[in-house]
């Protein structure tokens, strides 16, 4: 058996097998689950990272599952965007698992630890599946897997607010999933295909012959965007996010904010550009209108969510609102339809994953050590927890978007893209949102470092397995800020291919 040729499918199959066998180990000894999950994700990370340099947006790595050829079978299709997400997911997964090692004892009931690791493996599997699949229905199935898993993960602590948040998340998430399924069935009914690239070609042909079924495809596009916007928590439909992301256990919050909402963004990219991109000429009005609506919703979400974040007294709720701000930036970059803005949006997926991951994990360390959730309680923590607070300060540079952090590169490119398209009001809104972001981030940093302490100045850091992920994430934001040239040219090329008509 040629394993190397099967690498694309192994990327999904390996974590799935590890997830399925995790409860069996848990029946024997609970502690093994952690090592099992970590081992599984390490193998997966190796599989994903060894693909770097081997794929491009123009020449993706493809694999036909069970040997069925593309328009009929499920095709795995790893392009630059998919690989970017796969690498981010696998890297984050290892850090989050490492972090969970000690954290689970704080917020997760002992008998559920086995389920916790199983669900984590399952959610990573589903997200990897979403990023590598080239089949629309397969995308939907993986999307449902990670959605259902994340409802369970939000509720895993068993606290009553957590269960309420999970139910609220489920009601919105399931409705949006159905909207996406409806869109897929619309599209299938007029194109007879489920392969994204193939649908694109069929739509192009239909456009040339001005088929009478084009309005159905256009309606499907609206349903797709509506559904994925809920998943991505774009402004008017973000209401489920603050509660679900803040009440979940901290590693889960980090996972949801850093990775899961990006899958909604991926859905927008896949449908708007891979599926409908080629047939653009036949949809120019609807397509253009949708892109405009998206960019306005995104641009408005930035200041509005930032103001909401400033008003919060709970640290994790504040961080959750900040995620809405950043989804706004990413969607703004994507929907402004300039190469530079698009590349900036893709870059912000990575930058935000690191920055927001670090934020939530820091909040987790503080909860683990002191049980503090309120921002006012953080006074003077910089003295007793210098590493934790320092990591928060560095990550906040990236979240606000100051040089030399990754967030700066991302925002700069997004705003430059907006200027290229003469979207001046969006630029003003985004810049205003950045200033507001500085208020809520630096308020916390100020409390941590420049006010009198209420926990004493004695060194009292969290455990090593928690500090390492936090430090690495904070260092990552600076690293990718300084060495953004490692990523940006590749992302620009991908953006150029996706935006080419």
């Amino acid at each position: 058996m040629n394993l190397a040729a099967r690498q694309p499918v192994l990327l999904v199959a390996v974590p799935l097998v590890f997830a399925a066998t995790c409860p069996l180990w848990g029946m024997w000894k609970r502690r093994i689950c952690f090592y099992w999950a970590l081992g599984g994700m390490s193998v997966t990370a190796f599989l994903a990272w060894s693909l770097i340099g081997k794929v491009s947006q123009k020449a993706p790595l493809t694999y036909n599952v069970s040997g069925w050829r593309p328009p009929w079978g499920i095709q795995i299709r790893i392009d630059t965007v998919g690989l970017l997400l796969a690498c981010t997911i696998t890297a984050m997964s290892i850090l989050l698992l490492l972090y969970s090692y000690r954290y689970v004892e704080k917020e997760i009931p002992t008998q559920r630890i086995v389920y916790y690791y199983t669900l984590l493996l399952l959610i990573f599997t589903a997200m990897l599946g979403c990023s590598v699949t080239g089949d629309l229905f397969n995308f939907f199935v993986f999307m449902e897997i990670f959605s259902i898993t994340s409802y369970a993960l939000v509720a895993i602590s068993g606290e009553r607010r957590a269960i309420r948040a999970a139910l609220k998340y489920l009601l919105m998430g399931a409705t949006s999933s159905l909207t996406v399924l409806l869109a897929i069935s619309f599209l299938y009914s007029v194109t007879g295909s489920l392969n994204m690239v193939d649908i694109g070609q069929v739509l192009e042909r239909m456009g040339r012959t001005s088929s009478p079924y084009l309005p159905v495809a256009a309606a499907a596009m609206i349903f797709f965007i509506a559904g994925f916007c809920v998943k991505a928590a774009v402004f008017p439909v973000h209401v489920w996010l603050p509660e679900a992301h803040s009440i979940a256990p901290s590693p889960v919050s980090a996972l949801l904010s850093a990775l899961v909402i990006k899958m909604g963004v991926l859905g927008i990219i896949r449908t708007l550009f891979t599926v409908y991109g080629r047939g653009f000429s036949s949809f120019s009005e609807v397509w253009g209108a949708l892109a405009t609506v998206l960019s306005w919703a995104a641009a408005l979400s930035i200041p509005v969510a930032a103001i909401m974040a400033i008003m919060q007294t709970d640290l994790k709720v504040m961080i959750a609102y900040s995620s809405v701000v950043h989804v706004g930036y990413i969607v703004l970059g994507i929907s402004v339809l300039s190469v530079q803005g698009f590349a900036g949006g893709l870059f912000n997926i990575v930058a935000h994953a690191m920055g927001k991951g670090c934020f939530f994990l820091v909040a987790g360390i503080i909860i683990y050590k002191h049980g503090f959730r309120r921002i006012d309680d953080l006074k003077g923590l910089g003295r007793s927890m210098p590493v934790t607070a320092g990591a928060f300060a560095i990550a906040s540079l990236s979240i606000v978007g100051l040089p030399p952090s990754a967030g700066f590169i991302a925002k700069w490119n997004i705003l430059y893209g907006c200027l290229q398209q003469s979207q001046y009001i969006q630029v003003v809104l985004a810049l205003f949102g950045s200033m507001l972001s500085a208020v809520y981030c630096f308020k916390v940093v100020y409390y941590m470092f420049f006010t009198g302490s209420n926990v004493g100045a004695k060194m009292d850091e969290g455990p090593m397995t928690m500090l390492i992920p936090v430090t690495l994430l904070a260092a990552g934001t600076v690293f990718f800020g300084i060495f953004s040239a490692l990523l940006m040219p590749t992302l620009s090329n991908a953006a150029r291919v996706l935006l080419a008509r």
Partner: protein, 125 residues
């Protein structure tokens, strides 16, 4: 108004009505169980739509038997993919409903009510 046209596309009309009914229940009904019922109605409507898309009058399954060649020539062979999609969709819907019902059970246990506005009114964020 051409009634025969509506009659021939009855599946689509019913599916659209069901979808809207479900959406109404999910968004407007205060009772969580009713919201979930609405969600399931929405799911069913989408399944009905996909099945209707794959419908062929007097169709034959694409299995090579005696009558297959005639059916193929008459263009009456049914595409099996919509049915496969529905099966997957039903599995997904069942698991969503299962998770949702177990959450409902817990919510009722902890809050003592299934009324959504009442639950949202307690321990505000």
């Amino acid at each position: 108004m051409n009634f025969s046209r509506i009659f021939h596309n009855l599946n689509y009309v019913v599916s659209a009505l069901l979808f809207l009914m479900g959406l109404y229940a999910v968004t407007v009904k205060p009772n969580i169980i009713k919201k979930l019922i609405g969600l399931n109605i929405m799911e069913t409507s989408v399944f009905l739509l996909i099945v209707s898309v794959g419908m062929v009058d007097n169709g034959v399954a694409p299995i090579v038997t005696e009558g297959y060649r005639n059916a193929l020539e008459a263009g009456r062979v049914v595409n099996p993919i919509p049915q496969a999609l529905i099966l997957t969709g039903i599995v997904v819907a069942v698991s969503t409903t299962a998770v949702a019902l177990s959450l409902c059970l817990r919510v009722h246990e902890k809050y003592g009510t299934l009324n959504a506005p009442e639950i949202l009114g307690r321990d505000v964020l």
